[in-house]
């Protein structure tokens, strides 16, 4: 009986199936890789050089965020506390364990400090957790002073974290989820949305 499909057509179909199958495998594999939790920004929890516990500081001791991260109400960058700020308290507050040794956290801190004078000697190199792309320009002060947002709205319940992890993806879509909401009740400036949705608001 005569072949229903030519040899050439058959080869073509086999090739197409192979290619599509390959693409499917590639797609599935890539998606698995990309969406694997450890590769995602959300949940990123790096080990820091100094085991600073926000739970103890911001939670138990109720130190306000702005005491250390004062840049958040001044300008674009919230900043990190200088070693000097840490020593504001830790010159005097030096918790020790039952044997009289400094706790691991204190020991780690004192590597950056001259024990005789309590003056900082070298800066601490932290692992950056909340990182936006270089082409996105975020201004902290607009959100803290302008929109009166609590830090936890974007950074999550930091006062419960022994080690800080990223709670929100900080992707543009996530930002726009809030920016496109209706304005807050206390706004009197007649704005249409909670935040700007213009490109130039964040991209320069």
């Amino acid at each position: 009986m005569k072949n229903l499909f030519t040899r050439r057509f058959d080869r073509l179909v086999r090739l197409a199936v192979t290619v599509l199958g390959g693409a499917l495998v590639f797609g599935v594999g890539f998606s698995l890789y990309a969406l694997w939790p450890s590769n995602q920004a959300v949940g990123y929890e790096p080990v820091q050089p100094v085991p600073f516990s926000h739970k103890r500081m911001a939670g138990d001791n109720k130190i306000p965020c702005l005491y250390c991260h004062d840049g958040a109400e001044r300008g674009p960058v919230a900043g990190l506390p200088t070693v000097e700020v840490c020593m504001n308290c830790h010159t005097y507050v030096q918790p020790k364990d039952k044997q009289g040794n400094l706790t691991p956290g204190m020991q780690a801190l004192f590597e950056y400090v001259d024990p005789a004078t309590n003056k900082p000697t070298k800066p601490i190199v932290w692992e950056k957790i909340h990182d936006l792309s270089d082409f996105a320009y975020f201004d902290h002060s607009r959100h803290t002073v302008g929109a009166r947002l609590p830090c936890a709205d974007c950074h999550g319940p930091v006062e419960t974290m022994d080690q800080v992890y990223q709670v929100n993806s900080l992707k543009m879509g996530w930002c726009l989820d809030c920016h496109t909401k209706p304005p807050e009740p206390w706004r009197t400036d007649g704005r249409a949305t909670r935040g700007p949705t213009q490109c130039t608001s964040c991209h320069r």
Binding site: E73, G75, P76, V77, E127, R142, H203, R204
Partner: protein, 1008 residues
């Protein structure tokens, strides 16, 4: 997939293969197929077969596949996966006022250039990222020049000398110098002219310790010829400063006072102020420029008379005779083939405006011309009215080459050059350096002078230095460092102190600061309790102002002046006018890429200089643009490319000095041609040169080669008479929109609406805005070759247009038009972007989102103003990867990578910064709180920028007022794109119309 790729039709111009996706672009060939293309700098391979076109054994097809996969992977990764981990480093302790992400501003002084201007430095995170003028400085009042803006680049230049060479350390070098100076019978110190009073004190202290040390000043572009004439005729040292704001008639004889002659920032400010007329009662000044070359001032003239420089002195003498009514000017006009009517009008204007006219003669002219000019100014009663005497010029009196030669020719024990590249402009000096027992060179780079020295000592950059300057009597300008020294360098004055004392450098970097502070407190500052506060206040302001009484020098010695003015001059068939380069000056900025790449305002040359000549001269010599010509003078000869530049006088060749430098690491890559061998011993004009084509050709790179408007109303202009007779004159010349805009109107919410107005009556075309924009917005340098391909990245450019004045193709009137993104309301670029990377925002800006852009370049294609610049290559790669060069970037602006489009954003980072500040402090944004970089730099205050929606009492904004002007027009408005940049037309004050008058009347002058 299996088929061999076959090209159809004509072979493409360039084909080849590449593999690495990030380094090479994709382009379309004539056939419309997307092909991989190499940069045009490599040889076209169109004749080679597919097999031959393998690169590293990879064929085109496999490269395509690989590239496709890489792109998919790269974009996929970027979208879904966390960024690579980064560190963030806290400080150890917070310096006062220093908050992360926020900038601090420091006052300082720019001592690099020929004149010390006040400078305001923007410092972010401990490093300077932008220079601007100091608003408190009485001379430049917050404005800046292109060279000043460009100085920032040289701070971070990786080619800077980083440590002393020729000695193991500074201590060893100091010991060697001290030892040599102690035993020297003859020692010579060569410095620049503009050194401040404290450094001069350090030199005199050094000389008192070593009496054998002589100090000479080498400043080849000092206006010494002119100044020596004044010294001779008035019996005292000083200079006449033209006060253009009091002048209704200005006559410039070969004098580029708006460009390179004198205190140009002050001249531009005062002159531009006299050019604006808004109503029928207003009047403006009249500028006559008489020159053989073509200067920036010449392009801004109301009337330009082409006259060979050899005739300048006799012309001024003839003018004086005509003004004093001894001999009419017609004789001179007839003898030299000039327009007698125009000269008659000039004489008439000068006669009628005694006391309100000023004549300035260029620093390059010989003594006779300056003597004649002094006599003419005397006849016009200009002294102490439109000319002000300054008994303390900024620079020391410069020694001539002959004087220095006489001192060093018999061999010197110690020869020290301090911050001056002598060998570049005087190559014979190198042999004096080699002949000296100890030669010491102190400079920023390992330039030709330092290379000839035994000890090569690296200098601080001006941003790392303590210093002071006296630009004028009554003003002390302070310079403070804004960054810790990047390398093991030392300030030159500090070296002087180290050599004068035996004590080792116990407090490096502060010894001169203490010396300076002590001198100021003793001599300049108000002494009293709380002296520390006085010092800090002075530093904060950047200037210490003292009394500035009107100084009147001795009367002009008329007989001596007449004798000097009558000095005969022999001229040959061809004359040569040597000018300082518009941005590189005498060569001191000759390694600054920003200043090399910015197009010269007159010739539009980039990275090069040329022998300019008029069209008829070129015809006579059978020379075209690009032909190499040999210029021979009695002092030296040079070969350089010719440029046919209509507007020069016939028989005059003009070329810029200061080019021809190369980095020590790449000595073969020379930028331009060194024309210093042509300089005469007096002045900057050679009166008898020979010009001959060599038969060879080269290519010149210019940003513009087409200067005609082709009858399109791109730059509108009217004469003052036309305007006063009919205020609608400009409005009638505007083109009408052809129908309705084709796009949907953008719905503005009524918030801010940012618009700009550029007053062409004020703009002189100086390029300050271009470099200011480059510094503010991290704009890349592309190099000479890519400039040749039209790929320079300047967001703002100055377009030059020429109109014929008569049938003579060398008689032209020139127009300068700054062109930038017009932020059109109906932007043609926004609608064609396939990925929506460019949109309109609710404040009137056309936004550009680099991360969305995929590089289709459709937007640039659609832009009628061609203001969109594309990153054809990773132009910033070298900067981004270098740990020092990347400190230069403004962190508020994205650094663009390959493949994205960029354009002027109206300094959106400054707009947002001001908005955030207003939101933070709860204040309203007033007019002037947002100033774009170009607006801030402009010495002519030509640019207005602001929010047109600003209501009273804060408003209306200055820009809204300017837009209502009768002189306003838009460019290409018939295309109905509704640009948001309004231009205000320049008015030419033509002779024969109503008499001009200055902006300030004589009654207002009073006692200043």
């Amino acid at each position: 997939m299996e088929k061999e790729f076959k090209s159809k039709g004509a072979p493409p111009r360039v084909t080849a293969l590449v593999v690495a996706a990030e380094a090479r672009p994709i382009s379309l060939t004539e056939g419309g197929r997307a092909r991989l293309a190499i940069p045009i700098r490599e040889e076209p391979n169109s004749h080679r077969s597919a097999e031959e076109q393998k690169v590293d054994g990879i064929t085109r097809r496999s490269a395509m596949k690989f590239m496709g996969a890489t792109m998919a992977l790269a974009s996929g990764l970027a979208a879904c996966v966390r960024k690579p981990p980064r560190k963030v480093i806290s400080r150890t302790s917070q310096p006062e006022y220093n908050h992360p992400g926020q900038a601090l501003y420091y006052s300082s002084t720019w001592t690099d250039g020929p004149f010390p201007y006040g400078m305001l430095v923007k410092v972010q995170d401990g490093r300077p990222i932008k220079l601007d003028g100091n608003p408190d400085h009485p001379i430049n009042k917050g404005t800046s020049s292109a060279a000043m803006q460009g100085s920032l680049l040289s701070l971070y230049d990786p080619e800077r000398l980083r440590a002393p060479k020729g000695a193991a350390s500074w201590a060893a070098a100091d010991q060697q110098v001290r030892g040599a100076l102690k035993t020297a019978k003859k020692a010579v110190l060569v410095t620049r002219a503009t050194i401040g009073p404290s450094e001069r004190r350090a030199i005199s202290d050094l000389r008192s310790v070593y009496p054998a040390l002589r100090h000479v000043v080498y400043e080849p572009l000092a206006d010494e010829t002119r100044r020596s004439v004044w010294r001779e005729l008035h019996g005292q040292d000083g200079e006449w400063l033209p006060r253009f704001e009091w002048a209704s008639v200005v006559l410039a004889i070969e004098c580029d006072f708006l460009g390179t002659d004198g205190v140009e920032l002050e001249s531009i400010q005062s002159f531009s102020g006299t050019r604006v007329a808004e109503t029928a009662d207003d009047t403006i000044s009249r500028l006559y420029v008489v020159e053989g070359g073509l200067s920036l001032t010449g392009t801004n003239a109301d009337h330009r008379i082409r006259l060979r420089p050899s005739l300048a002195a006799s012309f001024v003498r003839a003018l004086r005779d005509a003004v004093d009514e001894r001999t009419p000017i017609d004789a001179f006009a007839a003898a030299n083939d000039l327009d007698a009517k125009l000269l008659g009008a000039l004489v008439g204007d000068l006669k009628e405006n005694r006391g309100k006219a000023v004549v300035v003669a260029g620093a390059g002219l010989p003594k006779a011309a300056h003597a004649a000019t002094a006599l003419l100014n005397r006849s016009l009663d200009a002294f102490n009215k439109t000319l002000e005497w300054n008994p303390q010029p900024a620079g020391l009196i410069a020694n001539s080459k002959a004087e220095i030669e006489a001192l060093v020719e018999d061999g010197v024990d110690v020869l020290i050059t301090l911050g001056v590249d002598v060998v570049h402009s005087w190559s014979a000096f190198a042999k004096h350096l080699s002949a000296a027992k100890l030669s010491v060179g102190h400079g920023l780079y390992l330039d030709s002078t330092l290379s000839a020295c035994e000890l090569r000592l690296p200098s601080h950059h001006v941003l790392e230095s303590w210093n002071d300057a006296r630009p004028r009597v009554g003003i002390i300008s302070l310079c403070q460092p804004v960054i810790m020294p990047l390398y093991d360098t030392r300030q030159e004055a500090e070296s002087l102190l180290a050599w004068a004392s035996e004590a080792p450098d116990a407090a490096p970097h502060t010894r001169f600061r203490d010396f300076l502070k002590a001198r100021l407190e003793a001599e300049e500052l108000e002494v009293g309790p709380g002296m520390e506060v006085a010092w800090e206040t002075a530093l904060h302001q950047g200037v210490i102002l003292g009394p500035t009484n009107a100084f009147v020098p001795a009367e002009l010695d008329v007989p001596r002046a007449e004798a000097l003015a009558a000095t005969p001059l022999q001229a040959g068939a061809y004359e040569l006018v040597l000018t300082p380069h518009s941005s590189v000056w005498d060569g001191r900025f000759g390694l600054n890429a920003w200043l090399l790449e910015v197009p010269d305002p007159v010739t539009k040359l980039m990275w090069d200089n040329a022998a300019c000549m008029s069209a008829s001269t070129a015809k006579r010599l059978s020379v075209e643009t690009g032909y190499l010509v040999k210029l021979s003078t009695p002092d030296g000869s040079v070969e350089l490319p010719a440029l046919v530049q209509p507007g020069l006088a016939d028989g005059v060749i003009m070329t810029a000095l200061g080019m021809g430098r190369a980095y020590a690491s790449a000595p073969d890559e020379v930028f331009g041609t060194n024309t210093w061998p042509l300089i005469p011993s007096e002045g900057r004009v050679q009166f008898d040169i020979s010009v001959s084509p060599t038969g060879e050709e080269t290519s010149l790179v210019r940003s513009q080669s087409e200067f005609s408007m082709h009858s399109r109303p791109i730059v509108l202009e009217a004469t003052l008479g036309e305007f006063r007779a009919n205020l609608e004159a400009i409005q009638e010349k505007r083109s009408k929109e052809h129908g309705e805009p084709i796009y949907e109107p953008f719905k503005y919410g009524g918030g801010h609406k940012w618009e700009m107005a550029i007053d062409l009556a004020r703009c002189v075309g100086c390029n300050a805005c271009v470099i200011a924009c480059q510094a503010e917005n991290n704009i890349a340098i592309v190099g000479k070759e890519e400039c040749g391909n039209g790929r320079e990245m300047h967001w703002m450019r100055i377009d030059q247009y020429r109109d014929p004045v008569s049938h003579d193709e060398d008689e032209l009137s020139f127009h300068h038009q700054p062109m930038l993104c017009q932020q059109c309301d109906y932007a043609p670029c926004e609608n064609v972007c396939p990925v929506n990377a460019t949109n309109h925002d609710d404040e009137g800006l056309n936004s550009m989102v680099y991360n969305r852009c995929i590089g289709t370049r459709y937007c640039a294609n659609n832009c009628p103003y061609k203001v969109r610049r594309f990153n054809f290559f990773n132009f910033q790669k070298r900067f981004v990867e270098d740990p020092v060069q990347k400190l230069l970037f403004n962190p508020q602006v994205t650094v663009r990578q390959i493949g994205v489009m960029e354009k002027c954003t109206f300094c959106v980072q400054r707009i947002k910064g001001a908005e955030f500040e207003a939101a933070r402090t709860g204040s309203e944004m007033s007019d002037g709180v947002v100033r774009t970089a170009c607006q801030q730099a402009c010495p002519a205050s030509a640019i207005s920028f602001g929010d047109v929606n600003l209501r009273a009492p804060a408003g209306p904004a200055e820009v809204a007022v300017k837009q209502q002007s009768a002189r306003s027009f838009l460019v290409l408005e018939e295309l109905r794109v509704r640009p948001n940049v309004t231009y205000l037309a320049r008015l030419r004050n033509e002779a024969g119309e109503e008499a001009p008058a200055p902006k300030k009347q004589a009654e207002e002058r009073g006692d200043e």
